[in-house]
């Protein structure tokens, strides 16, 4: 493959930065975005760098953060707003190249191979991008530049906040290999623990470890880790990656530990969101997954296949709740809830049913989608989300 130039822009403390961009008085002050500050057991979603200095971390309980930075500003998360900002940033990136791949709400890749004549060297493009995001959106970002997506991502991680880092493949041995294995993209705490047991401490250890050993321990993931540690990655920047869906999923850490009906309400809410996203893309799906995380931070995941493809919210809700009831003791508290809707295919045809159920529910969904598109996601909601036991009420 011809030498490519890939840039990753990673917004720093994105949620907090958005609030600081909107409200001048918050700039330079410790800002902490939380689930719901009114609820005693809410947790920290993002802390601004001013707050991070005091040791505030994502996932901390609000009262813990308050103890560390008593004069911090606590703000309840406004996800719609972050999405709008994210779209504005993507728009700026698309001024440089159509090859922009959103990777998460606050990160996106762009392939600027061949853009030199238009905008200058990759370094100059990255500077221009940073400046434009800072001036036009008001958010700081760390930018990584390299010849593939993996190294661009690793480069952006090297300097935070407000970084601008180029990492070339030949620099991998001296810049990446000394770092702890957990810093490698794709290595989470679990894999890190298992690597540690094999005596693998640094990224360099992974690269030097015979691939057979990694394969035996981690399967296909092991082979991928080995490539990653060597800085090899051929995956293209795919602007459609979010458009060609194999599945949609949504999860959130709850603002407090939830039990019983509260879990149920969160599941219903998430089902509503994932199926709406599938419908928006014109998909039908066949598999429903439910993820829970308990207060010991263990994850649980179950899936169930539906008898036929559907884009009807009620089908997914029924299945997700069936998973919940059959696998979870409702009095057991939950920290995180996630719902996935997978095996998606484009809806090319539909088998109507004799008694008109699909027609009725389909019409209802289309009407609600229309209202939400026009008046916002909260313009129409399931009544259960408004009940007292709802965590959203």
């Amino acid at each position: 493959m011809v030498n490519r130039w890939i840039i990753l822009a990673d917004m720093n403390s994105f949620f907090a930065s958005v609030h600081q961009a909107e409200d001048i008085s918050l700039r330079g002050r410790p800002v902490i975005v939380t689930g719901d500050p009114d609820k005693r057991r809410g947790i920290v979603l993002t802390a601004s760098y001013e707050a991070k200095k005091y040791g505030v971390k994502t996932g901390m309980l609000i009262w813990e953060a308050k103890k560390l930075v008593p004069d911090a500003v606590f703000i309840k998360a406004e996800h719609d707003k972050y999405l709008q900002y994210s779209m504005r940033i993507l728009k700026i990136m698309r001024d440089f190249t159509p090859l922009v791949e959103p990777f998460s709400i606050d990160e996106a890749f762009m392939d600027v191979t061949g853009c030199e004549d238009l905008f200058g060297s990759p370094m100059e493009i990255a500077k221009k991008l940073k400046d434009r995001i800072k001036n036009e959106v008001g958010v700081m970002c760390s930018v990584g530049i390299s010849t593939n997506k993996l190294l661009a991502k690793m480069a952006a991680e090297l300097e935070k906040p407000d970084g601008l880092t180029m990492l070339l493949p030949e620099e991998v041995p001296h810049r990446l290999w000394p770092l702890p294995a957990g810093e490698l993209f794709g290595v989470g705490p679990r894999i890190e623990r298992r690597l540690d047991r094999l005596g693998i401490k640094t990224i360099g250890d992974i690269a030097k470890c015979p691939v057979e050993i990694l394969k035996r321990e981690f399967g296909a993931v092991g082979a991928a880790l080995h490539m990653a540690a060597k800085g090899i990655d051929c995956s293209p920047v795919n602007p459609e990656s979010l458009n060609v869906l194999k599945g949609v999923s949504n999860r959130y850490t709850l603002p407090k530990d939830c039990r019983g009906e509260e879990i149920k309400v969160a599941v219903v809410d998430l089902c509503e969101k994932v199926v709406r996203r599938a419908r928006k893309g014109g998909y039908v799906g066949k598999c429903v997954g439910l993820t829970l995380r308990d207060t010991d931070l263990f994850y649980y995941h179950w899936t169930k296949r539906l008898p036929e493809y559907t884009d009807i919210t009620e089908d997914v809700i029924d299945t997700a709740l069936e998973l919940l009831y059959s696998h979870w003791l409702l009095e057991k508290p939950v920290r995180l809830v996630g719902v996935s809707f997978t095996e998606l295919v484009k809806k090319k045809w539909e088998q109507p049913d004799i008694f008109g159920r699909k027609k009725r529910l389909g019409q209802l969904a289309r009407t609600c989608d229309f209202l939400k598109d026009r008046y916002g996601e909260n313009s129409v909601q399931r009544a259960v989300l408004l009940e007292k036991k709802s965590i959203f009420a």
Binding site: K346, K347, W349, P352
Partner: protein, 376 residues
């Protein structure tokens, strides 16, 4: 208990009741088969609490008694015994069963007889009688539209409704995409108005059809508040009824049609099965076909971007009404063509997005309704 029977008879009996035995259950006794010997007969019985099958066998009984035998081992052993006389008896204070064949012997540990869930003593009045062949053919015809998934239990059953004046039983099934309706003439011995409408698990009816379909005498049918019972000779199949409201299916059957065609079933079946191989769209394993009825012929078309396309042409034996373009899941058509028991079929369409009704050309005892697919 002490009996002597032929291996072949015993194997038949054991296999018959084994279909009702719970393959795995949290209640261990349900994985057993009850064997009772009395006078000139032995009775075998298996149940998973929903379905119960009893099978009687005339044989030589030396001593009466009963035992509950672990079904898996009993079935597998009896199957492997030589085709000759087998002697069965109890030893070890009734805790063990022995089976003697030739000079050899097998011994099996038993369950506690008292634990076996006995049939409720509520007497069953067998009020209806039906021809075995008609019964089993009918069950086959309606079973195709029974829902395969358990998410809506009512759709896994066969709805039975008695018309006592005209002496027929209406069987109906639906999985919400299609619906079957079958009229079966019955002999009514005594009227029981309270139980004119029930939903019986299709599994039970299929077992009854399988065990009784070739019998020489009529199948007797009776209902209690909670059960449906089928009896033929010494074989009894009993099932719990399915609770719930069966949808009011009569409203959805169209009274008239816009297009009517008659086709030869064999050639329609062959054309559809070829066309369904190349699926419409990207749904794996689904054969969506477009059917075009124009003038006096029918064309069937399917395509897939990856694979290719199939174009089939069929002559129509008869056509009335408008030309029509419509699409179906081919499986839903193939399944009904297999059970129509006729040379030719009559298909009534009510529009490209409305139900189509398929019947055999002769007679009005069977009807199959299917909804076309809507192509986006």
């Amino acid at each position: 208990m002490h009996i002597i029977c032929q291996q072949r008879d015993l194997q038949n009996a054991v296999n018959s009741v084994y279909r009702a035995v719970a393959s795995q259950s949290t209640i261990p006794i349900l994985t057993g088969i009850l064997l009772q010997a009395s006078k000139e007969k032995i009775y075998l019985e298996g149940t998973d609490m929903e379905l119960r099958i009893k099978y009687g066998l005339s044989t030589q009984v030396k001593e009466e008694g009963k035992a509950v035998i672990p079904a898996r081992y009993f079935v597998d052993l009896v199957k492997r015994l030589p085709d000759e006389e087998i002697e069965l008896g109890l030893e070890n204070d009734g805790k063990r069963l022995f089976m003697k064949y030739g000079d050899s012997i097998v011994k099996l540990n038993l369950f506690e007889v008292e634990e076996f869930p006995e049939d409720e003593k509520e007497p069953v009045e067998y009020n209806l009688a039906v021809d075995p062949l008609l019964f089993s053919e009918s069950i086959k015809q309606v079973s195709i539209a029974v829902a395969k998934d358990e998410s809506r239990p009512i759709f896994t059953g066969i709805h039975l409704e008695l018309n006592s004046e005209e002496k027929f039983l209406t069987m109906a099934t639906t999985d919400s995409h299609r619906l079957t309706l079958k009229k079966v003439s019955v002999n009514i011995q005594k009227l029981n108005k309270d139980l004119s409408e029930v939903v019986v698990p299709s599994r039970a009816l299929n077992e009854a059809a399988r065990l009784m379909g070739e019998a020489q005498e009529e199948i007797k049918i009776g209902f209690t508040e909670t059960k449906a019972c089928f009896k033929c000779g010494d074989v009894v199949v009993q099932s719990q009824l399915i609770d719930g409201q069966f949808p009011s299916f009569r409203d959805v059957i169209p009274e008239s049609y816009k297009t009517l065609v008659e086709v030869e079933i064999g050639s329609l079946y062959d054309s559809l099965s070829r066309a369904s191989l190349v699926s419409y769209g990207e749904y794996k394993g689904k054969g969506i076909v477009r059917i075009n009825i124009k003038d006096n012929s029918m064309s069937i078309f399917s395509f897939s971007n990856d694979v290719g396309e199939v174009m089939e042409f069929l002559p129509l034996l008869k056509k009335e009404g408008e030309d029509l373009e419509i699409a179906f899941d081919a499986r839903y058509l193939l399944e009904v063509l297999r059970v129509l028991n006729s040379e030719t079929a009559r298909i009534e369409f009510t529009g490209p997005l409305s139900p189509a009704v398929i019947k055999p050309s002769e007679g009005d005892s069977y009807l199959y309704l299917v909804l076309p697919v809507r192509i986006q």
